[in-house]
């Protein structure tokens, strides 16, 4: 099977390309719809095999690996490509160009790998090691026609070069949120309220209207009376969340712009929930946590956002709160359990990457109380799915 490697490499990289889609690509080739150029193949194959732009980046990597004879890139090389990007091109004189043009690609590649092992750090403007703006045959922005291109534009743009650009890196959804992804993720929070909203025939009102009309038929359609999606957002604004503060602010401001929740409120806490919650992120106005437990109906969606990362004593000890103003006679963990017991539809969103969660005792403990999801596009999707699947429960006698 022609180009079978591409198909299997895509699947190995985690993209679920189906045989039907592959066959459609074969059909396109069979009918002469693809021009005899790798670039055209790159475009058409992508259009027929990859159905979401958040997979474009992986496709690019696999494409390079399949057609440029390399290994599938790893994390270090990605970082490498990152800092090689956008530097100015130097001027090479004629002599250098001729000398370099004499090197065949294999030889270049061998020397490249050799220097990669020798080089220990970033390097700019030189002539031997791999770096930017220099005259060595390796790196980026060099005027070396025989060189190994690392990211960015070269002279003519072949499919491989285009794919190496990794233009779609930002579109991947497995990264913790950045600005653009925020929009998409929050749009998914909207799913929370789409359970209701279809016009239905209001039989009673129709009968009433018809009767008032002396028997002339008059039908009444109304939105269903129940539209009571309520969302409570509790945000951690403690010190360890500082690197994520911009993220949290954006989440907060974007969430407040969703108008179709019947009730939406956002409150904040420092590191852990204690007996008081802050009503505005920056200010010190507080309300008692017990208030929240009483005021809101038990089927309110409760979303806690935080890194769940603190000293164990902050979680488990009385007076464990590190902030002086909290004199919590009840340990933080108890408060968290109270919240979970009251609001059965609660989840926790954590901006720290999933793989680091097992290293912290407090994260593990808190995730045993609340279902915990990553604060990323995918994480929010999973969280919303999880919330939607929970059936409504009747209020049990307390």
């Amino acid at each position: 099977m022609i180009f079978a490697d591409l198909f299997y490499n895509l699947r190995t990289a985690g993209l679920k390309v189906g045989t039907g889609e592959w066959l459609s690509l074969m059909q396109a080739m069979n009918e002469g719809l693809i021009k005899p150029s790798l670039s055209d193949f790159y475009q058409i194959a992508r259009a027929l095999l990859i159905k979401n732009e958040n997979q474009f980046d992986i496709y690019d990597q696999v494409f390079v690996a399949t057609f440029a004879d390399g290994a599938l890139p790893e994390a270090e090389i990605e970082k490498f490509l990152q800092w090689l990007a956008d530097k100015k091109m130097p001027q090479l004189d004629e002599a250098m160009i001729t000398a370099l043009q004499a090197l065949p690609l294999d030889e270049l590649r061998r020397r490249f790998e050799e220097r990669l092992t020798k080089q220990k750090e970033r390097h700019d403007g030189g002539s031997y090691f791999i770096g930017t703006g220099g005259t060595s045959p390796f790196g980026h922005g060099g005027k070396n026609p025989a060189g190994v291109l690392m990211g960015g534009e070269g002279g003519s743009r072949s499919a491989v070069q285009v794919a190496m650009e990794r233009r779609f890196r930002d579109y991947r959804d497995d990264r913790v949120l950045d600005v653009r992804a925020m929009q998409v993720a929050l749009k998914k929070l909207r799913r929370l309220s789409h359970q209701e909203g279809i016009l239905e025939l209001d039989v009673d009102a129709s009968i009433d209207k018809t009767s008032r009309n002396a028997g002339e038929l008059e039908l009444q359609f109304s939105p269903p009376r129940k539209n009571d999606v309520r969302v409570l957002l509790l945000l951690d604004t403690g010190g360890s969340m500082d690197p994520y503060s911009e993220l949290v602010e954006q989440l907060f401001s974007a969430a407040t712009h969703i108008h179709h929740f019947k009730h939406f409120e956002a409150l904040s806490f420092h590191n852990c929930v204690y007996e008081k919650l802050y009503t505005k992120i920056a200010e010190e106005k507080t309300i008692p946590t017990a208030d929240i437990l009483i005021r809101h109906p038990h089927d309110t969606y409760m979303i806690l956002v935080g890194d769940a990362f603190m000293a164990p004593s902050e979680l488990t000890d009385r007076y464990g709160a590190i902030q002086y103003s909290h004199h919590n006679t009840t340990p933080g963990l108890e408060w968290l359990r109270k919240i979970k017991n009251r609001f059965y539809r609660s989840i926790w969103l954590n901006p720290m990457p999933l793989r680091s969660w097992s290293q912290s005792w407090t994260i593990k403990t808190i995730s045993s109380v609340f279902p915990m999801f990553e604060l990323s596009v995918r994480g929010i999707e999973e969280a919303v799915d999880h919330l939607r699947k929970m059936p409504r429960r009747q209020e049990s006698g307390t």
């Binding site: 396109a28 475009q43 058409i44 600005v179 909203g197 016009l199 038929l217 911009e246 401001s253």
Partner: protein, 276 residues
């Protein structure tokens, strides 16, 4: 489908090479084309351009959150029939009078091949695209109230757009050809803008493009300005006779580019920072 399709954009819609290729391949393979992209990148206009370019009619189906797949095929107007029957002065026995074909139904019954745009397909219920699948595969459907079967005379060219509000179901995605319209790079944008304005002064255009792309770079904008907003802005500049000198580090009529208050504040800060 084996005859060559050769759509190359139209005078009012500049398409890049990739888009042209993918549109033509989708048409030739007889598969729907799903288009995604930033708002304002011309996804909906694409369908119009394809129809114009290929000299076909365009049917539009703008999806709402309450749209059901069946509505695209046909609607049986029961309420109207009920009202008509009140005074016994109309013959309501023929149900066919109350069957109205939806956009897909009309596309099937058209004499010539048409382009059917299904706009914002992700707005509808999550099952919606799957519900359409059967009819799309079979190219026919049955009107259950009358027993009539409607069969497509030819396969309509389906252009679907999505705003990524929801994930679309896999079974549906497998059937489509997918394209993501990237935001135009400056060179392409230059050509796009020119199609909208005759006699645009060159310096004004270049300075406006500079300013526009600088604005898009600003970190943290809630809604980055899109191509349609650029065109509105240039219109405003032209109408008010703004000198291109003023575009070096100012943004007159910023409200045409940025629609959110926070963004305007951010932009103002960025401009101040550059000035210093």
């Amino acid at each position: 489908m084996s005859h060559q399709s050769n759509w190359r954009g139209t005078s009012d819609y500049i398409a890049d090479e990739t888009l042209m290729r993918i549109v033509n391949v989708a048409i030739q393979l007889g598969r729907p084309l799903l288009v995604k992209g930033e708002p304002g990148t011309g996804k909906t206009l694409l369908a119009r351009s394809i129809a114009d370019g290929l000299h076909m009619d365009l049917l539009c189906w703008h999806i709402k959150s309450t749209t059901k797949a069946k509505d695209g095929l046909y609607v049986y107007d029961t309420v109207q029939r009920l009202y008509d029957s009140r005074f016994h002065d109309k013959d309501v026995s023929d149900i066919r009078q109350y069957i109205k074909l939806g956009p897909l139904g009309k596309a099937f019954t058209a004499e010539q091949q048409v382009v059917l745009l299904i706009d914002e397909i992700d707005k509808a219920d999550i099952e919606f695209p799957n519900d359409l699948l059967h009819e799309l595969d079979a190219m026919s459907f049955e009107i259950s109230e009358t027993g009539d079967v409607v069969t497509a005379k030819q396969r309509p060219i389906l252009i679907l757009t999505s705003n990524s509000e929801k994930e679309l179901p896999d079974a549906f995605l497998r059937r489509v050809v997918f394209h993501y319209i990237e935001f135009p790079a400056r060179e392409l944008m230059d050509r796009i803008v020119r199609t909208h304005f005759k006699d645009l002064p060159e310096t004004l255009l270049q300075r406006a493009l500079d300013a526009f792309y600088r604005l898009r770079q600003i970190d943290g904008l809630r809604k980055r300005p899109s191509s349609s907003e650029l065109i509105d802005w240039i219109s405003a500049l032209l109408v008010h006779g703004v000198d291109s000198e003023n575009l070096k580090n100012e943004y007159p009529f910023l409200g045409t580019l940025l629609k959110r208050e926070q963004d305007v504040v951010l932009a103002a800060r960025a401009v101040m920072a550059i000035r210093r």
